[in-house]
Amino acid sequence: MKLSVIYMLNVIVLGLFGWAMVTYYDAASQFQNFMSGNGDEVMINMTPILITLLVASIIGFVITRNKRRNNKGWKEALLLPSELCEDDEREKNLTAHACRNAYIAMMFASPLLIAAMTLQPVISKDFSGYPILVLLLLPFVQMSVFYLSLRRKLK
């Protein structure tokens, strides 16, 4: 499977997961209000989690089947991310280089995102899912740097 397709699928699943978690975060806030006597009911929107489960299941099935067709073992097909499947020493070399770049990117992104979390008390009044969004930016940065680094080397 093409690297750009795998990256897009990862971003879609991450985005959907974020959407589902924001919904649950809202529900948890409502529950907190309910327990402290400020709310009457707790409403959970099940649509995001159902869509996320459906899309993730389909993508997972297609990717696993694809890897099994390429003679990968069940353990590798189920647990190893597709972008880390290496067939020879050159591909291992490329992955190692991309992992190094992703690690460096995390060294810069982590403190910035931790600093962004300090705005949570201000922004949470208008957007309660702000901490989820900030946390999701970490894997997004990691995946994006890994993908861009590999793409540049493969050109």
Binding site: D87, D88, E89, R90, E91, N93
Partner: protein
């Protein structure tokens, strides 16, 4: 820089990139990258390639100074 004669030797031995790749257990893209000088192979891969052509290492790979 590491220069090599893999393309020339492949032609002489009538091997495609895919055939050589299968013999030395790598992908076709890796053979292409080695031929173009974009990837420096490991000692193990270089020795496997030399064995396929039945040649000494220095006959297949030559170290070229950057200024040349």
């Amino acid at each position: 820089m590491l220069k090599n004669r893999i393309r020339e030797l492949r032609a002489r031995f009538q091997l495609t990139q895919q055939q050589l790749a299968s013999k030395v257990d790598v992908t076709r893209q890796t053979i292409a990258a080695v031929e173009k000088g974009e990837y420096v192979p490991s000692l193990l891969l270089a020795m496997k390639i030399c064995r396929e052509f039945d040649m000494a290492m220095e006959e297949v790979f030559q170290l070229q100074e950057e200024s040349e």
